[in-house]
């Protein structure tokens, strides 16, 4: 499959694009000496403000623009190679689709371009329309679609060939929160299923939520490159999450910390729910009430053909999956509420994070840096109900001197899963599907100075 030997799906060396005017005069350097290596099976984010050269880079990788200097290899071949294109799915920054075709015809057209046989096309079209929530408007001309619906059908066309490499240029632009969330879930799922995803966006939260590694461009130049964990870790802060504590318990924690670290400032705050989760609950409630809409619905889960065999990756469902999978709207509403509860919970470690898990376990034996009041009573969590899960939790942020301390939200998750597993109803979304936003609640919390 991949002709390249160094496990790189995309490789650029000194990639440069100089924009010249009609007379050949140099006007601007869009991309300047870009060296990138995007590995197999990773979700890679290309970040940068408007005009930083993200889209230009992508267009060069697709052969739509030619480099002025330097070179790029995509799936071991030159950009634009027909054989390479057969393994790529591409969503442009705007869904440039034929307005006279309806949604089904659009997917059929792109399926034909990939040379897919008619039965395969038919099956994939139905599956993808279902996935992006456009099954009900499959006969409507794409030209009549809203921007968000056009993005959805654009995404579907990018997936029609079950690509090994998915290139998404500003995929969430114009999408409503449901669509945004769905695309992020989708990217995560595709990443877990071995696809390589190159995501280009200036929406930092989108990239942060889904990417394994990111590169930041500015002025056409690479400014920084690394894993999200590595780049965003606040190494000198410890965060402890637990259920709502009584004032006495909080005071006890303060006392303990101040005893150990008398000069440290301690923040104790009640975290807020995420607006995205709140919004999804409202929509789910509207769906439960069968409120009519001519727009897109929440899509179904990942299309069958995009999934890999179960022995390679366990089947999991996202909140979106759960919301729309069943015909029972009440179940969907319950699932949304469950998801909201999960959003307040730490996230389990993915299989490929086993070394990190070990490191975290080791860190647990460092009492000086963490305070976990409820650890002594595991039943307190074992007995909690779904409603309890939606109750606010207290967080304690404290400065520590341990610069090697990993993200402690993972600790929460480990504690929750290994020591006090909560009861989960059937069809409960797996926490692994949650966004990385939820791993860092400090970004969304109402802060209280302690």
């Amino acid at each position: 499959m991949a002709a390249n030997t160094n496990n790189c799906v995309i490789e650029t060396v000194g990639l440069t694009k100089v924009f010249r005017d009609f007379w050949g005069h140099k006007r601007v350097i869009a991309v300047d000496q870009l060296d990138l290596e995007i590995r197999n099976h990773e979700v890679f984010g290309l970040l940068g403000p408007n005009g930083s050269g993200k889209s230009t880079t992508i267009k060069m990788l697709l052969g739509l623009l030619f480099p002025s200097r330097g070179a790029a290899r995509v799936l071991g071949r030159h950009p634009g190679d027909v054989k390479t294109n057969a393994r790529i799915g591409y969503l442009p920054e705007e869904s440039h689709l034929y307005p006279f075709l309806n949604a089904r015809e659009t997917l059929d057209f792109y399926g034909r371009l990939f040379g897919l046989p008619a039965p395969v096309r038919k099956q994939r079209i139905e599956s993808l329309l279902d996935m992006v929530g456009l099954a009900g408007v499959g006969r409507r001309a794409v030209g009549e679609f809203s921007k968000g619906m056009a993005r959805r059908i654009g995404l579907a066309q990018a997936l029609i060939n079950d690509p090994d490499l998915l290139i998404l240029d500003e995929p969430t632009t114009g999408l409503d929160p449901i669509g945004t969330r769905q695309i992020k879930d989708l990217i995560r799922q595709l990443g877990r299923r071995g696809k390589t995803v190159l995501l280009c966006s200036h929406l930092l939260a989108d990239v942060e939520d889904v990417c394994d590694r990111i590169a930041i461009l500015y002025g056409g130049k690479l400014q920084d490159l690394g894993s999200v964990q590595q780049l965003l870790a606040l190494a000198d802060v410890t965060q402890i999450r637990t259920r709502q504590l009584s004032p006495d318990a909080i005071q006890s924690i303060r006392t303990i910390i101040q005893r150990e670290y008398p000069d440290e400032t301690i923040d104790v705050e009640t975290p807020r729910d995420r607006l995205e989760d709140y919004f999804l609950r409202i929509v789910a409630r509207a769906q439960a009430a069968e409120v009519a809409t001519s727009g897109a619905l929440m899509g179904a889960g990942l299309s069958d053909f995009l999934t890999r065999p179960a022995d390679q990756q366990p089947q999991t469902e996202t909140v979106i999956d759960t919301l729309v999978a069943g015909s029972d709207a009440d179940a969907a509403l319950a699932a949304a509420q469950q998801h909201a509860a999960d959003a307040a919970q730490p996230v389990p470690v993915a299989p490929d994070e086993q070394p990190l898990r070990q490191e975290v376990l080791e860190s647990l034996v460092k009492p000086a840096t963490t305070v976990v009041p409820d650890l002594a009573d595991p039943n307190a969590q074992t007995d909690q109900t779904d409603e309890d899960l939606t109750q606010p939790v207290e967080t304690v942020d404290t400065q520590t001197d341990d610069s090697q301390e990993p993200d402690h939200s993972v600790i929460d998750q480990l504690l929750t899963r290994s020591e006090s597993p909560k009861k989960e109803p059937p069809n409960t979304p797996q926490p692994s599907e949650q966004s990385q936003d939820q791993q860092r609640p400090d970004q969304n919390q109402h802060r209280q100075k302690g």
């Binding site: 601007v28 869009a30 052969g63 739509l64 634009g80 027909v82 015809e105 792109y110 371009l113």
Partner: protein, 465 residues
């Protein structure tokens, strides 16, 4: 092939979804076919001439409409894809850029095929209705069958070789002119001599040819028609079609003629004789049995200017734009077969426009490409006029340039089959061969290669920073 077909299919869908364009096209084409036929039906005139007019105008107008349709659509389909960036999602799929262009061309070709078939079918049906409803007499019906709903092949006797005579006369004239100039103390420069040769050549050639087609009173002229291959049906006839001019116009505007025809060169003595008395400067025909043609396809026809016409000299003007001279006509195939050949010739010209449109649209913006192709189209239609216009210009450079333009541009006028079908003539194999090989095969391929070369190296996206 599947991706190419997908692009072609998409183009056809795109056009079919342009409802306003479709409605307009249907209205225009219906007006110039069915509407025109109905209008002719309401007018008074000879049935065969009305039908000829109908065939000529409706086919010509329909073709021109389809030509403009092809020009605009073939350019728009590719240039709009690039402008509206729909090409992003196509070019990043497993289809080569050549495949994209080929798909567009294939789509246009299929679309033209369908449209031409529809229009051609409508015109054919209307013509047949006119054939059934217009003639009021048996003579008109016969005339309709023999002049319109037929496919006759025309054989013209070769022009005599007068090159040597012309050369000698020109040199004689130049010599005389130089002598005259020297007597006045000057001499002719090389350019002047070259211009004289060019100007005199045309005049003397025409003059010497005409001289050989001139029959003074009491004298005769013999024509040899080669490759006359009438159908084997014994009822078929060969028609001798001619037009005569005179040096002195007779009072009653008619002249007598004595004809002989047969397979032998000594036709005057061995052939069948026929006497005519016809009006001058009018096209006439007489029938010759197929037995007068040899197995090798040779037919000899002699004309004697009887002394009764004296002092009038008879001239058979050589075949030109407005002259038919003398021709042997025979039925070569059915009207239906010839009609299909007509549509094929029209289709080849549309294909050529589709090639040019796709090639130009691949690297020029829509308005520029349309402008360029319209200029090519107009030049192609008027290639004969261009050559005529510059023929008498003094500058060699201009003549060479005009010839180069005509060589490069399509000679639409030369490949127009409508005048043939209008006159009940077969659209020749030569016309179809030239149109498919020289126009579409060579010029079309060169245009396509050029378009592809540019499309291959051009950036389909624009740098946005």
């Amino acid at each position: 092939m599947r991706p190419i077909w997908a692009v072609a299919r998409n183009l056809i869908t795109e056009v079919l979804r342009m409802r306003a364009l479709l409605i307009f096209s249907v209205c225009v084409l219906a007006l110039c076919t069915v509407g025109f036929a109905f209008w002719l039906h309401t007018t008074d005139g000879r049935a065969d001439q009305e039908t000829q007019t109908f065939l000529s105008y409706s086919l010509s107008f329909s073709w021109h409409y389809l030509a403009f349709f092809t020009i605009f659509t073939s350019i728009a389909t590719i240039s709009r894809d690039i402008k509206r960036k729909e090409i992003y999602t196509v070019a990043t799929k497993p289809i080569s850029r050549a495949g994209v262009l080929l798909g567009k061309f294939l789509g246009m070709a299929l679309l033209n095929l369908v449209l031409l078939a529809l229009v051609g079918g409508t015109i054919y049906a209307a013509a047949r209705i006119l054939q059934r409803t217009e003639p009021t007499t048996q003579d008109e019906r016969l005339r309709m069958a023999e002049l319109v709903f037929t496919a006759r092949h025309a054989v013209t006797p070769p022009l005599p070789d007068v090159a040597e005579q012309v050369h000698q006369q020109i040199e004689k004239d130049i010599k005389a002119e130089r002598t005259r100039a020297r007597e006045q103390g000057a001499d002719l420069d090389a350019q002047t001599i070259r211009n004289m040769r060019f100007a005199l050549k045309h005049d003397y050639t025409k003059q010497f040819i005409l001289r050989q087609r001139t029959v003074p009173p009491g004298q005769h002229i013999i024509w040899h028609f080669a490759n006359v291959k009438p159908a084997q049906d014994a009822s078929d006839l060969v028609f001798i079609r001619y037009k005569q001019d005179v040096s002195i116009t007779p009072r009653d505007l008619t002249i007598a003629g004595q004809w002989a025809f047969g397979p032998d060169p000594d036709v005057i003595h061995t052939g069948t004789h026929l006497t005519t008395h016809n009006s001058i400067r009018t096209v006439h025909e007489f029938a010759v049995p197929t037995s007068a043609v040899s197995d090798q396809g040779d037919l000899y026809v002699a004309y004697r200017n009887p002394p009764a016409n004296a002092p009038t000299t008879i001239v058979f003007p050589p075949k030109g734009k407005r002259e038919i001279g003398i021709q042997a006509l025979y039925v070569a195939t059915s009207f239906e077969a010839n009609y299909l050949r007509t549509l094929l010739a029209m289709y080849l010209r549309l294909l050529f426009l589709a090639v040019l449109g796709t090639a130009l649209g691949a690297w020029l913006s829509f308005p520029v490409a349309v402008l360029v192709l319209l200029i090519i189209f107009v030049f192609g239609l008027s290639s004969n006029f261009i050559l005529d216009a510059v023929k008498w210009s003094a500058g060699d450079l201009l003549r060479t340039f005009a010839r180069a333009i005509v060589l490069v541009l399509p000679e639409f006028a030369a490949y127009d089959p409508v005048p043939q079908i209008e006159k009940g003539r077969i659209v020749s194999d030569q016309l179809l061969f030239n149109a498919s090989v020289f126009m579409l095969g060579i010029k079309g391929s060169l245009a396509a290669l050029f378009g592809y070369a540019v499309f291959r190296i051009r950036e389909l996206a624009r740098v946005i920073v």
